[in-house]
């Protein structure tokens, strides 16, 4: 392992769902690298493939879905080729995911302390049970759960939805993994609790060097947290780059539209920019660029697949007619 090697390198990942209605290419050639301690925001509308990208990385895609192509290099090891045994060793330990639905992490019939202590011991057998309990308790405190000692003895159904999510987050943070994939973890939480969670996530990345993928449709959260950003549309990353570059000078027409439609400090009472139409069904994508039916810049060229155009300086975009004039200013 050398230092310049990214912690996680996703290369041309393809995950398809083979449904009765046809093949849904939920992830259709996604690539990105994340370095140690780096935070990448993965944004896009619902159905654009963000969650499936996360599931594919940690090897949790179930039939009718299947990873049909590409690589997921974790410290150089290809997780797509790794067996289930190896993935079980890594999951929750070196690579963790916080799910949109906390009950995917929590076992409803086990007390929270049992689940948390098991997670600690699975990772490090030299830890005593008391020490594991202490660590679990601290982790609950970190995510803002009041009276963590009592709460440890509770079952998941005794928590409110927001608190369950915080417990799931605490479990993901327990073993200080190398990679965390957080899938819209704070969408259902209050802004103040969200701030608390963002604080813990940021601390982990800064102190432990955890690489973090933060999946969300909320661009404003990503703005405060991420170092880099990847924008997904219909199974593809259409634009990727440093946070400030993408937010201040978006070049893909979809990113431009998305940013224009966010209400901000100076837009009060004005009409917001709206992207016409709606997200296309993955089963009925037009040939070529998937955004063409909604794109103000579309022309005949867009009936072909744009591929990655204009790769410059850690930045890339999939578009024949990107807003490069604006970006150059």
């Amino acid at each position: 392992m050398n230092d310049s090697q990214p912690t996680l390198s996703v290369q041309n990942l393809e995950t398809h769902f083979f449904t009765k209605e046809g093949v849904a290419k939920a992830v259709n050639g996604v690539s990105f690298d994340i370095a140690k301690g780096e935070i990448m925001g993965l944004v896009g509308e619902s159905g654009s493939g963000k969650s499936v990208t996360g599931f594919s990385i940690i090897g949790l895609v179930d039939p009718p879905g299947e990873v049909v192509g590409g690589k997921v290099l974790f410290n150089g090891e290809d997780l797509v080729q790794a067996g289930e045994e190896r993935m079980r060793q890594l999951r929750g330990n070196r690579v963790a995911m916080i799910f949109q639905d906390p009950m995917m992490t929590l076992n409803p019939v086990l007390r929270v302390d049992t689940q948390m202590i098991e997670t600690v011991l699975a990772h490090d057998k030299s830890v005593s049970k008391d020490e594991a309990r202490q660590r679990s308790r601290d982790a609950l405190g970190q995510v803002g759960i009041p009276s963590p000692d009592e709460r440890l003895k509770a079952y998941p159904h005794q928590f409110s939805g927001g608190m369950r999510q915080r417990v799931a987050i605490a479990i993901a943070l327990l073993n200080k993994p190398d990679v965390i994939i957080a899938d819209e973890p704070t969408t259902a939480l209050d802004v103040t609790i969200q701030g608390q969670i963002l604080y813990e996530a940021q601390k982990l990345c800064r102190e432990t060097g955890t690489a973090l993928i933060w999946i969300t449709h909320d661009l404003a959260v990503v703005a405060g947290l991420a170092d880099r950003i990847s924008v997904m549309y219909a199974g593809r990353v259409v634009e990727q780059g440093k946070l400030d570059d993408v937010l201040d000078h978006p070049v893909h027409p979809y990113t431009v539209g998305l940013l224009g439609s966010v209400p901000g400090h100076n837009t009060r009472g004005q009409r917001l920019f709206q992207i016409p139409g709606m997200t296309p069904s993955l089963l009925k994508l037009p040939p070529g660029c998937a955004f063409q039916e909604r794109c103000p810049r579309v022309d005949g060229a867009c009936e072909a697949d744009p591929g990655i155009t204009h790769p410059v300086d850690g930045r890339n975009v999939r578009c024949f007619h990107p807003h490069l004039e604006e970006a150059a200013q």
């Binding site: 509308e45 449709h217 404003a220 405060g224 940013l259």
Partner: protein
């Protein structure tokens, strides 16, 4: 001028009844008691005709409960609601029916609030026929016009709700409310479930309808950027109580209540980059067991002894601005 809507000391308590095991335990001498949630605690505010008032607060602070009482679908425990100067409980049958139509509510989950077995035509057209706003013969045309008003093609009127996207379903919900020609809309997280690009479409629609139909709104949301965008005035709630109200610009420029300041600090914004996040100070209280005195005192950086014992009164601190904080007593 009387306000279009006036809410005074409005209160709603929910009693969480004991289950059988609890009742037996209580009979056997356990100290277990019924739990009371003070979902809304003596809330007072007004909304003028044509105004858009945003109602903001953390999850569970009582926003939906307040909205549902105003829309007449949840009876208050105490307090008064007046619509155009007439108090709900002193309305005649006729006045009550008219108010029930004039105040319509739009909900967060566009799917759950639409009957899946009814065609859009029925969903939108049923109530206006019953209330004589249109006739059976005119219904198709009336529904078509209403659909077009919210940006849905009238050719979709024979479809069922599941045949639409999230944003379209929210438009159906809005069309259903508009079909009875309301004057006042309570929008409860009406765009929260929608994608960003679709949110913009629906926000624009709400703003157009306001001008076209002369509507008044109470706009409930936990998303401050959305509320800031469309509201003239804001009402801030914390654990069941209103803590501050002010015109939107003034509130953002110079929040008075320490909770409002904390809230504004936490709002994620596109132009706030590279934040060094900080942990929440103090315990986060539960609505089941709110702290005494000022509800915010365990988290307030300015809390004094008085704050732990005495409830601060919501009072005028400047023309058009109210706040409930002991700091204003100088």
């Amino acid at each position: 001028m009387t306000a279009m809507l006036e809410v005074k000391d409005l209160t709603k308590n929910f009693v969480k009844r004991l289950d059988m095991a609890g009742k037996i335990a209580q009979k056997l001498g356990s100290s277990i008691r019924e739990e009371v949630v003070h979902a809304v605690d003596t809330a007072s505010f007004t909304v003028d005709k044509g105004e858009v008032v945003g109602l903001v607060g953390e999850s569970g602070c009582g926003k939906s409960t307040l909205g549902r009482m105003i829309a007449g679908i949840l009876p208050p425990t105490a307090g008064q609601i007046s619509f155009k100067g007439v108090e709900f409980t002193s309305m005649t049958q006729e006045e009550g029916d008219a108010a029930a139509l004039a105040i319509q509510m739009i909900f967060q989950d566009p799917f759950a609030s639409l009957n899946p077995r009814m065609r859009v035509e029925e969903i939108i057209g049923e109530a206006p026929v019953i209330h004589g706003m249109t006739t059976m013969q005119e219904k198709a045309n009336y529904v078509g016009e209403t659909m077009e008003r919210v940006g849905l093609g009238r050719e979709y009127s024979r479809r069922y709700p599941h045949q639409f996207s999230g944003g379209q379903r929210q438009r159906i919900g809005i069309a259903r409310a508009l079909a009875v020609q309301p004057e006042f809309l309570v929008c409860d997280e009406a765009i929260a479930a929608l994608d960003v690009s679709i949110q913009a479409q629906v926000i624009n629609l709400f703003m157009d309808l306001r001008t076209d139909l002369d509507l008044t709104y109470l706009f409930i949301s936990h998303d401050l950027s959305v509320v800031e965008h469309i509201s003239d005035r804001l009402v801030i709630m914390y654990l069941g109580r209103i803590v501050e109200t002010a015109p939107t610009d003034e509130l953002f420029d110079k929040p008075n209540h320490p909770y409002t300041s904390a809230l504004l600090n936490e709002v994620p914004r596109l132009d706030h980059r590279g934040i060094d996040y900080e942990p929440v100070s103090g315990e986060i209280p539960s609505p089941l067991d709110p702290p005494p005195g000022c509800h915010f005192h365990p988290r307030c950086p300015h809390a004094m002894d008085r704050c732990k014992a005495e409830i601060p009164v919501l009072r005028e601190i400047a023309p058009g601005r109210l706040s409930a904080c002991h700091l204003n007593d100088g």
